[in-house]
């Protein structure tokens, strides 16, 4: 290899590092945003330094020995192979160190598990591959999904600053309030995790687990699902916006208004074309992840929509499966409103290669619930 080749290989190598370097790498845990995360940060630093200290002592001795006690410098082997006192000492010292570590860790665990005296509660439900948030005291609920465009993931567009860590509807909490999180799942196990909060809790179908946060400062905090949950496990981020109490109340009011106008739409008579147009957006947000954007599905786990016996059969059966689910198909009745369901049915029956020509009104969906 001549000098020029070496240089150009080196330059290519370095340029690889320049790609996407607009987000800074980090070497340590994220800056804590809650008291618990702060305690965890401190515990980690304590243990890290204790480990480094022991490591340096032990391996200084080993490398000293490697340098000095080698045959090539003429060192003759000693023949000792026991020393009871030494063995007792190096068993007892670690015990003392461990007790010193266990004490602060235990205090933090007790604080983490204390979910009493909360100011408000949010029920968080994981499902493949989105999060649903239900504000139990406010009658506010919504679904949160990845908002990074497919073009960025498929390398057809430049990746944004918060690539894969951005959602359409973030969870919003007021700062300074103790928020109890009731975490569960619909289909498989997920895990709700925001590193800055020091909360990672598995979301387990059929069981509700508790955690709590009290966020110190307003800001946007980002995390990801932390338990393998199938194909799009890497694509179900969690974003929490912490707002001041006033901003939070404004947000709650806006959410309620949006919900009211959506339910008003359920009583109006919709034209089929209107439903199909609205249904496309609903399908792409909620259904395409399994049944495919073109309706091809991923058989055998996820059946195709195109030519499906359900989407081309009796419309009542179609409605029933969407409302109540079947096997791994989740129930949507608590997730989508009447308009969304009517729209997606119209879309699935009259697009994606299907053309049954029929549709159902939101009022009929309401009646079937």
């Amino acid at each position: 290899m001549n000098k020029r080749t070496i240089l150009s290989v080196g330059a290519t190598f370095l340029s690889l590092f320049a790609v996407n370097s607009h987000a800074a790498y980090a070497l340590n845990l994220k800056t804590p945003a809650t008291e618990i995360a702060g305690q965890i940060y401190g515990l980690h630093m304590l243990i890290l330094w204790v480990c480094i200290a022991i490591f340096v002592v032990v391996f200084s001795l080993m490398f000293y020995s490697i340098l000095k006690h080698r045959k090539s410098v003429g060192h003759k082997a000693a023949q000792f192979h026991e020393n009871h006192w030494l063995e007792v000492i190096w068993t007892i010292i670690p015990v003392i160190i461990l007790v010193c570590m266990a004490y602060p860790a235990t205090k933090t665990i007790l604080a983490m598990k204390d979910t009493s005296a909360e100011d408000m509660s949010i029920k968080i439900t994981g499902s493949q591959w989105k999060w649903a948030y239900d504000y139990l005291d406010q009658d506010v609920k919504f679904i949160s999904t990845l908002s990074t465009p497919q073009d960025q993931i498929q390398n057809k567009a430049e990746k944004g600053e918060n690539y894969l860590l951005e959602v359409d509807n973030p969870m919003v909490v007021p700062v300074g309030k103790k928020v109890k999180l009731l975490i569960t799942a619909q289909d498989v196990i997920h895990a709700w995790w925001i590193p800055e909060f020091g909360v990672k809790q598995d979301a387990i179908p059929g069981f509700v687990r508790e955690a709590w946060i009290r966020v110190d400062e307003p800001g946007v905090y980002r995390g990801q699902c932390a338990e393998l949950c199938g194909k799009d496990h890497g694509f179900m981020p969690i974003v929490v916006e912490a707002k001041s109490d006033v901003d939070y109340q404004t947000w709650v009011a806006a959410q309620k208004e949006a919900a009211a106008s959506a339910s008003a739409g359920a009583d109006k008579e919709w034209a089929q074309d209107e439903l199909i147009t609205a249904g496309k957006a609903v399908y792409e947000k909620n259904c395409a992840v399994c049944h495919g954007a073109t309706g091809a599905g991923i058989p055998p786990a996820f059946p195709a929509m195109t030519g499906s016996a359900v989407a081309t059969g009796p419309i009542e059966g179609h409605l029933d499966i969407i409302l109540n689910g079947k096997n791994i198909m989740p129930a949507w009745k608590d997730v989508l409103n009447d308009v969304d369901i009517a729209a997606v049915i119209a879309y699935e029956r009259n697009a994606l290669g299907n053309s049954t020509g029929d549709s159902i009104q939101p009022s009929a969906v309401k009646a079937a619930r």
């Binding site: 996407n20 790498y25 994220k30 243990i47 890290l48 490697i66 995790w193």
Partner: protein, 525 residues
């Protein structure tokens, strides 16, 4: 330890050609089969890992679709654990335990043949699952339900059956090894005179017998949940998905020690040889091994800290997990004390052993960090855990296997391996390993979850470094293959004891070890 030399006589009357291997009841031939099987599985599962690292070289999806990415991580884990590391240690047990305790073969030679040949249908099922409709198993090597119940592909069932068969093979093999060690030692070799490798395998065999049936139970429940309408792990039918995790990790944690205790045995054999000094604290090594084995049954739920246990459970499992660092620490101190004031030389086996002591300790310390429950909450299911278990499983188990291969190659083949190439293999492996896995501590701390095919931009630099290291690590292992084949084909003749400081009965028989050895047991004084 002094011995009287046994009489040896020439090879006789065993089948030749392919039937020599298919019908073999000879511990050396079966040991060879195990070692080659594990080496090919090691290369195959390593190639799968390179698929993972290629996809993770840059953010965005380039080579592997998300579902296929999950298949790569799942198969990589399953094959490395059950196809590479475990069979390699059984290979060493087959070859070396009879030679080390001065007996002619294992107690049940035909069962031994069955133990190996059961692995072949298991491998066919596991690898064949790649080609069935729906593709191979994708729910992680831990196969947590409901995800593993949700996947309708028969590949999941094939993998379950493969693990059942491997479990039978392990149990049969363990019974064989325990019976051999307890009943067939040469006269004079008391338990506390056994080489430490034999001790660690004796304890490992008990761990296998105790834990493999538990895995079989978990897998059987999974199978009936999938096909026969039971609801062990389905909350809708009154079951509990977390129950699977409890049962699985009750197997899974002893399994971790099944993969590291024999490695401790190998290291404890090699270091005294090249330090020319007896192993420091032999008795405490034995007790530490037994302590680790016992503790391994009461720490399983530290894999499940984020499932949300009651506080008493969390505290218990944190304390018990922290305790394991004490016997493990004793081992590391003993190895360093063995080197202390020795007369060391640094042939390839010794280089690997020193690297194992050094790097395994890093994995041990990151294990202690993970034992601290609040910290584990942050690090569970991140790349920090990936870094941790590769420091214990690659630089603990796999590198001790490599060192031990170099150590006994002269005994197996009758030739010395090429020391220069061996050292090249060592340095390339060690450096590439650290380039691959050390940055994962940082990505994990910074918040990168494991088992994701694509990642946020702040993880890009370290992932690129890891991927470059991984390819260097993978390619370096081809050099290992070359050195081993070259040594089998020829090289300087090896003496019966090619190492100046080696002790033990295996060095009293000629190199290569004759087909039959110790038909008359030696006497150990």
């Amino acid at each position: 330890m002094s011995t009287t030399t046994a009489t040896h006589h020439d090879d006789h009357g065993h089948p030749t050609g392919i039937m020599r291997w298919v019908a073999s009841t000879n511990h050396k031939d079966i040991g060879t089969l195990y070692l080659w099987f594990s080496f090919f599985m090691f290369l195959f599962a390593g190639a799968l890992a390179l698929g993972i690292r290629a996809e993770l070289f840059q953010p965005g999806l380039q080579f592997v679709e998300p579902e296929n990415f999950n298949r790569l991580t799942t198969l990589h884990g399953l094959i490395m654990i059950f196809g590479a590391i475990m069979p390699a240690f059984v290979g060493f047990a087959n070859w070396m335990i009879p030679l080390m305790i001065g007996t002619s073969d294992l107690a049940f030679p035909r069962l031994n043949n069955m133990s190996f040949w059961l692995m072949v249908p298991a491998a066919i099922l596991l690898l064949g699952s790649i080609f069935v409709p729906g593709g191979t198993i994708a729910g992680g090597w831990t196969m947590y339900p409901p995800l593993s119940v949700q996947n309708p592909s028969m590949s999941v069932d094939m993998s379950i059956l493969a693990l059942h068969i491997l479990g039978v093979s392990s149990i049969v093999g363990s019974i064989n090894i325990i019976t051999t060690i307890l009943n067939m030692r040469a006269p004079g070799m008391t338990l506390m005179k056994m080489p430490l490798f034999v001790w660690t395998w004796l304890i490992t065999a008990f761990l296998l017998i105790a834990s493999m049936p538990v895995l079989a139970g978990a897998l059987t429940m999974l199978l009936t949940d999938r096909h026969f309408g039971t609801s062990f792990f389905d909350a809708a039918g009154g079951g509990d998905p977390v129950l699977f995790q409890h049962v699985f990790w009750f197997f899974g944690h002893p399994e971790v020690y099944i993969m590291i205790l024999p490695a401790f045995g190998l290291i404890s054999t090699i270091i005294p040889t090249f330090a020319r000094k007896p192993l420091f604290g032999y008795a405490s090594m034995v007790y530490a091994t037994a302590a680790i084995a016992l503790l391994s049954f009461v720490v399983w739920a530290h894999h499940m800290f984020t499932t949300g246990m009651p506080v008493a459970g969390q505290l218990f499992f944190m304390y018990s997990t922290m305790l394991i660092s004490i016997p493990t620490g004793v081992k590391v101190f003993n190895w360093v004390a063995t080197m202390w004031r020795g007369s060391m030389t640094f042939e390839t086996p010794m280089l690997f052993s020193i690297a194992v002591v050094f790097l395994f300790t890093i994995g041990g310390f990151s294990g202690l960090v993970l034992a601290i429950l609040p910290v584990d909450i942050q690090l569970q299911d991140t790349y920090y855990v990936v870094a941790h278990f590769h420091y214990v499983l690659f630089s603990g188990a796999a590198m001790s296997i490599m060192g031990a291969v170099y150590y006994w190659l002269p005994k197996w083949t009758g030739h010395m391996y090429n020391e220069t190439l061996g050292k090249w293999h060592f340095w390339l492996t060690t450096i590439a390993f650290n380039i691959t896995f050390f940055p994962m501590h940082f990505t994990g701390l910074a918040g990168m979850p494991r088992r994701i095919p694509d990642y946020a931009l702040q993880f890009a630099e370290f992932n690129m470094i890891s991927s470059i290291g991984a390819f260097a690590l993978g390619i370096s292992q081809l050099l290992f293959l070359y050195v081993v084949i070259k040594c089998i084909k020829g090289g300087p003749k090896a003496a019966a004891n090619p190492w100046e400081g080696a002790e033990g009965l295996e060095w009293t028989v000629p190199s290569p070890a004759p087909f039959h050895t110790f038909e008359t047991p030696p006497t150990v004084k």
